[in-house]
């Protein structure tokens, strides 16, 4: 995403595509009448607007019910509702926070490299006529649409973390942690990566749809949380098999469909760029599913549904930062590499370290995100099918990508540790052993998912 300056303009009928975006953006509303001709230089396309509205609700659909069912199917039946509830409540809480201060902290227009400032608290100053820039100079979308699109990203990222501590976390602790975490980890990193003044944007890091902001960020927070909260009671002794692979398959499939809003929508305009992101979201995922299934078939003799669903998510995660700059064939390779790497992590590395990242948030989103971020540097080259030609340096860009990954890891890890320590001191992190063995559905929410 490029220029994130916004302006409030008098929406005129005339439009000129040739207007320099920077000059327009520096106008204030007060000066607008004097520069009426310039103010009319932006153009808003109903196709773009409609496309972004649909993309936004597709990302909501990824969380509810997509991610909720994907995760819900992977836990035991006694904890099904707790996972669905956590996903739903996180979404609702972050929507409210986003409108109150989240949008301002991320995209409030401050020139700080670290956060967006306080200029748009409570969405102050935003009206139906407010505009948000796209990648094409002079082409805008309604700012409300941009706010809503970015809101859904802010909602799904903390919901992803849930997978690390399911079946044992206190409900109050989830909500408190998410409030702290989005405030001090998500909003600043979103600003750093996507705002034109942001630190990582300034370095030149490529992150088309949020590989660092969403997936590495959530993956690192998940790893920290899994270690600090500790293992589930009975891990390695009790059977903790997924209670419904059917729900997991349905959820994963909804994630794939919704991800077209996530990736193609990140282009902000319904044009060739969105089409490239769309085809990559197909091909990378297909490559990843095939790779995971093939690895299982060779190493274990059986290709599993959970393996295919895991490959699906790994491929989607990996193509997220790359969708707008790599080619459809490079995407297949990137997806396959991500699948292989994630397979190694969830089936081998996790067991050797012994942490209980229950649903493999780090193993898939963290690891897949890192593979994707670095792979973006490589596969964006024209020689490998990407769109970056001539003066593009694979080595140079890859170093920038690694730098962006490291900044995200360090920032996110520190915020996650501090947030969890605060929540532990105030609420406690875990439910009692009795509650854990009874299941969170009954003990935290007073209801049961299934009656026999």
């Amino acid at each position: 995403m490029t220029n994130r300056f916004f302006k409030t303009s008098i929406a005129g009928g005339l439009a000129s595509l040739l207007m320099a975006a920077a000059a327009v953006a520096q106008e204030t509303a007060a000066e607008a009448p004097a520069a009426a001709a310039e103010a009319a230089a932006t153009t808003m396309d109903k196709g773009d607007t409609a496309f972004m509205m649909i993309s936004s609700v597709l990302v909501l659909f990824m969380i509810l019910p997509g991610l909720a069912l994907f995760y819900g199917g992977l836990v035991r039946a006694k904890n099904m509702l707790s996972v669905l509830m956590q996903c739903m409540m996180i979404t609702a809480v972050v929507i409210v926070i986003w409108v109150v201060y989240g949008y301002s902290f991320a995209f409030g227009g401050s020139t700080s490299p670290w956060w967006g400032g306080t200029a748009k608290l409570f969405l102050g100053g935003v009206t139906m006529a407010s505009e948000a820039a796209t990648f094409t100079p002079g082409v805008v979308i309604p700012e409300y649409v941009f706010i809503v699109f970015q809101m859904t990203f802010a909602c799904i990222t903390p919901a992803l973390i849930v997978g690390a501590f399911v079946e044992r976390i206190k409900f109050s602790a989830v909500i408190a942690f998410v409030i702290l975490w989005v405030t001090f980890a998500y909003f600043p990193i979103a600003h750093m990566v996507w705002d034109a003044n942001g630190y990582l944007f300034g370095l030149g890091a490529l992150d088309f749809a949020g590989g660092t902001v969403v997936h590495i960020n959530a993956g690192i927070a998940a790893l920290v949380a899994a270690i600090m909260i500790g293992k589930r009671e009975g891990l390695g002794r009790d059977i903790m098999a997924p209670h419904s692979m059917t729900f997991t398959m349905v959820g994963a499939s909804i994630l794939w469909v919704g991800w077209f809003g996530f990736n193609a929508g990140s282009n902000l305009e319904a044009n060739g760029g969105a089409a490239l992101a769309m085809i990559n979201t197909f091909t990378a995922t297909a490559g990843a599913i095939i790779a995971w299934a093939a690895i299982e078939a060779v190493l274990r003799g059986k290709a599993s549904m959970l393996g295919a669903a895991s490959g699906l998510v790994a491929g989607l995660v990996a193509v997220t930062p790359a969708a707008g700059t790599i080619g459809p064939v490079g995407a297949i390779v990137l997806g396959a590499i991500a699948s292989a790497t994630c397979y190694l992590f969830v089936s081998k590395v996790k067991n050797s370290f012994g942490y209980d990242d229950s649903l493999d948030v780090f193993g898939i989103h963290g690891v897949g995100g890192i593979v994707g971020a670095i792979g973006t540097g490589i596969f964006s080259a024209a020689s490998l099918g990407g769109i970056k030609g001539d003066d593009y340096s694979i080595a140079g860009q890859t170093m920038i990508q690694i730098q962006a990954v490291l900044v995200t890891i360090v920032w996110c890890a520190i915020v996650s540790v501090v947030a969890l320590l605060i929540v532990k001191a105030v609420f406690g992190l875990r439910v009692s052993k009795e509650a854990e063995s009874t299941g969170l559905d009954l003990t935290s929410h007073g209801e049961a998912a299934y009656h026999s």
Partner: protein, 112 residues
């Protein structure tokens, strides 16, 4: 009067029911159960986690019959439920002390 109780493979239920009906036995109680015998369980692998599933799903059927019918019932079940593979199940026969049909109050042989 006897109870013929059998633990069988779930997919054999319809064949067993037909076999019992063909010898004139009307009435059967079925319960979903789990257990293990010589068949043992199996392992399931979810990503890196491997679980030994010790208890396998089976069906338990119970038929109350007159003592003279018990052997025929056992034979019908044994024939219908057999696959020849390990895990086909077992049949148990034991005596009934007393039977009451709730609707009419009939007892013992009249209630079967």
């Amino acid at each position: 009067m006897k109870i013929v109780m059998a633990v069988i493979k779930p997919f054999k239920l319809d064949e067993v029911r037909e076999a019992l009906t063909s010898i004139g036995i009307e009435g059967l109680t079925v319960t979903e159960v789990k257990g293990y015998g010589r068949q043992k369980g199996h392992t399931e692998i979810y990503r890196g986690a491997e679980y030994a599933v010790a208890f396998l799903p089976k069906l338990k059927i119970e038929v109350a019959v007159a003592s003279s019918m018990a052997d025929k019932a056992v034979e019908a079940i044994a024939t219908a439920a057999k696959t020849g593979q390990i895990g086909d199940g077992k049949i148990f026969v034991f005596a009934i002390e007393h039977v009451v049909r709730i609707r009419t109050g009939e007892t013992n042989a009249d209630a079967l």
